[in-house]
């Protein structure tokens, strides 16, 4: 049985006159130590998916249907206290912008120790020792000193290391990383991503990596889910998704990767933009941007169906795959 399994998840935001469907029927599974990538443009519902696993969706969002099975328990049904004991303990999270993730008025040390003490019955001194050890593990120089610092005394890359250290403090089974390098300088993005990959391998932690960057996902993960406008477009093993995409949107994303082109060649771009959630077209949400679209696509929403080892939500997947 999978460690974490999301089944037919629906998330909605009731806003004034209408209700927005942020996620519509998402399913995936994550095994122990496995690394999964959730890919999509901003607004596709990736972050909402991440937050709904921990039941931390921003108000007024709510899980409308579906199950989140972790360790054999449905997280959607357990009590608040049971959920608290899982958060930051069994499932940790790394946020997008390290400048905003750490509380500006508490020291790094306070924010680390409190996490340990929330889940373990240990002394302050022991917690401090463990925290400093973790800071060393994420390669923060002069860890003792940093332990006493306030977040604003650290650079962005340093802060993200601290966040990673906090995520790893309690030896979690799963880490959910929501665009962990997007807000950082390009020069240190690869460094932080490499560090995360190493740490997840060393500790056999399962990683759910949420990103818009297909290149990063292809290097780090074993499985990929591609989301479009709140729905699954395609999912499957990373290698196979990259080499044999069966959804026109995935194809477009791969064609848009720089290294697929000759140097100096013009980058490919999928025409048009993703619809916002309050303006999703009828039928397949992707049809206005799709070269394969026909009457069927404009009328009916394609349900995900297995094709080879992928699951693809496209009426014409076979045609697309052979094109």
């Amino acid at each position: 049985m999978a460690l974490l399994e999301v089944r037919n998840l629906h998330v909605e935001f009731p806003l004034g006159r209408k209700t927005l469907q942020a996620i519509h029927g998402l399913s995936f599974a994550l095994d122990k130590g496995e690394r999964l990538g959730i890919v999509g443009e901003s607004g596709a519902g990736k972050s909402v998916a991440a937050f709904s696993i921990l039941k931390l969706i921003a108000k007024p969002g709510r899980i409308a249907a579906g199950e989140v099975i972790f360790d054999g328990r449905d997280l959607a049904k357990i009590s608040d206290e049971e959920m608290r004991q899982i958060r930051g303990n069994r499932i940790s999270m790394i946020f997008q912008d390290p400048m905003m993730t750490l509380n500006p008025v508490l020291t790094v040390g306070t924010q680390m120790v409190e996490c340990l003490k929330a889940h373990r019955d240990i002394s302050d001194a022991e917690a401090k020792r463990l925290a400093i050890a973790k800071l060393r593990e994420v390669k923060i120089p002069s860890a003792e000193e940093r332990f006493e610092n306030y977040p604003h005394q650290l650079s962005g890359g340093m802060r993200q290391r601290v966040v990673i250290a906090i995520a790893l403090l309690t030896d979690p089974a799963v880490i959910i990383a929501d665009e962990p390098t997007t807000a950082l300088d390009v020069t240190i993005q690869a460094e932080i991503m490499g560090l995360m990959l190493d740490l997840c391998r060393d500790h056999a932690v399962a990683l759910m990596l949420i990103t818009h960057d297909l290149a990063v996902v292809s290097q780090v993960t074993q499985k990929i889910c591609v989301l479009y406008a709140g729905r699954l477009a395609e999912q499957g093993p990373t290698r196979s998704i990259i080499t044999q995409p069966k959804h026109p949107y995935t194809q477009g994303l791969i064609k848009a990767l720089p290294q697929q082109n000759e140097p100096g060649a013009r980058l490919f771009q999928i025409p048009g933009t993703m619809p916002t959630l309050d303006d999703v077209p009828a039928g397949c949400a992707f049809h206005p941007r799709c070269a394969f679209a026909d009457e069927l696509c404009r009328r009916e929403v394609p349900e995900p169906r297995p094709i080879g080892d992928h699951r693809v939500a496209c009426h014409h997947a076979e045609k697309v795959a052979s094109a």
Binding site: R87, M93, F95, N103, A118, H152
Partner: protein
């Protein structure tokens, strides 16, 4: 080092403001009433007047006169009150204690109630208690202080007879400061004036704390705190509250100044023997030195509280970037 720089800058600004206030005070002295008439009356001939005028330096140029005014002012000499026949500053200093006790009483009420109530409303925005509190607070903001004062008197003094309606009651002198906090009668007299003075600030602070805290609760670092699996108590009362109260401190500092203004209203209704009461009397009597003394003392209170609050705020809040400081 950066802090010192910041402090110096802030002090310079405070000095400039005080300079402007003293300039205003001086111009008032120049325009308001005739010092000669106050000294010698109407019955003196024009020549004698001119001579006196010359002797007193009233014919000197503006800068010279101002320089004389300011040298006296720093020696705490703002002239004698025409009515009380003693130094104006002394009169104000006497009344200062009564006003400050009123401000302290009101501040206590505000601090004790606004924080828990504001936090409760931020944490439970949908509960009916919060809705009732928010509705009451907007009613509270809409009732002018002097009306609250009048109705408190009407209900608790006139109708019920529970509370005294005017004056300070018994006071005890503590090393030159006469306080009403230490006698039963004094405290009794403090209740209604403090309540009415607090009546406008309390709803303002409840709303401010609620709004700030609700904003803080939406931030990423609070979400991260939840994601770490911390207990509610810690997220709310450490992570969120600390970030909520820091900006509230600044507003609080400014509001102390505002409260001094409102003391004029409460003191008038309750005939509280404070600075504001004396100031209004001075206006009606055109007691110029007393008016100037009040303006300068109140200006000083404003400037000092604002400066001190700013300095403390930047000390307490680790995120305030001071001039030229690198992260």
């Amino acid at each position: 080092m950066e802090y010192l720089q910041f402090a110096v800058k802030r002090l310079v600004q405070a000095t400039i403001v005080m300079f402007v206030i003293s300039l205003i005070g001086f111009s008032i002295q120049d325009k308001l009433g005739d010092p000669l008439r106050e000294l010698v009356g109407q019955s003196v001939s024009e020549e004698v007047r001119d001579e006196l005028r010359e002797q007193m330096g009233l014919n000197d140029s503006f800068p010279v006169q101002y320089a004389r005014f300011i040298t006296k002012a720093v020696r705490l000499d703002l002239g004698n009150s025409y009515f009380f026949k003693k130094p104006a500053l002394e009169v104000i200093a006497d009344k200062f204690q009564a006003t400050m006790e009123l401000v302290i009483g009101a501040t206590l009420i505000i601090v004790v109630f606004s924080v828990p109530v504001g936090v409760f409303c931020a944490i439970n925005p949908k509960s009916w208690i919060s809705r009732v509190i928010m509705t009451l607070s907007i009613v509270g903001i809409s009732v002018p202080v002097f009306l609250t004062a009048i109705f408190l008197i009407y209900i608790f003094s006139v109708e019920l007879g529970w509370m005294p309606s005017f004056g300070r009651g018994d006071t005890i002198s503590l090393g030159g400061w006469s306080t009403g906090f230490l006698t039963w009668d004094g405290l009794h007299h403090l209740v209604l004036p403090s309540l009415s003075l607090a009546s406008i600030m309390l709803p303002l602070f409840i709303r401010l704390i609620r709004a700030e805290m609700m904003e803080v609760l939406e931030t990423d670092y609070i979400r991260f705190a939840w994601a770490k699996g911390l207990v509610r108590r810690r997220v709310w009362f450490l992570h969120a509250l600390k970030n909520t109260l820091l900006p509230v401190i600044t507003v609080g500092g400014v509001q102390i100044g505002t409260m001094i203004a409102y003391t004029i209203l409460t003191e008038t209704v309750f005939q509280w023997p404070g600075m504001g009461f004396v100031f209004l009397e001075a206006i009606n009597r055109v007691d110029t030195p007393l008016i100037i003394a009040y303006i300068i003392v109140v200006g000083l209170i404003f400037v000092v509280t604002n400066t001190v609050v700013d300095l403390i705020y930047s000390l307490v809040n680790p995120t305030v970037r001071l001039v030229g400081q690198k992260p």
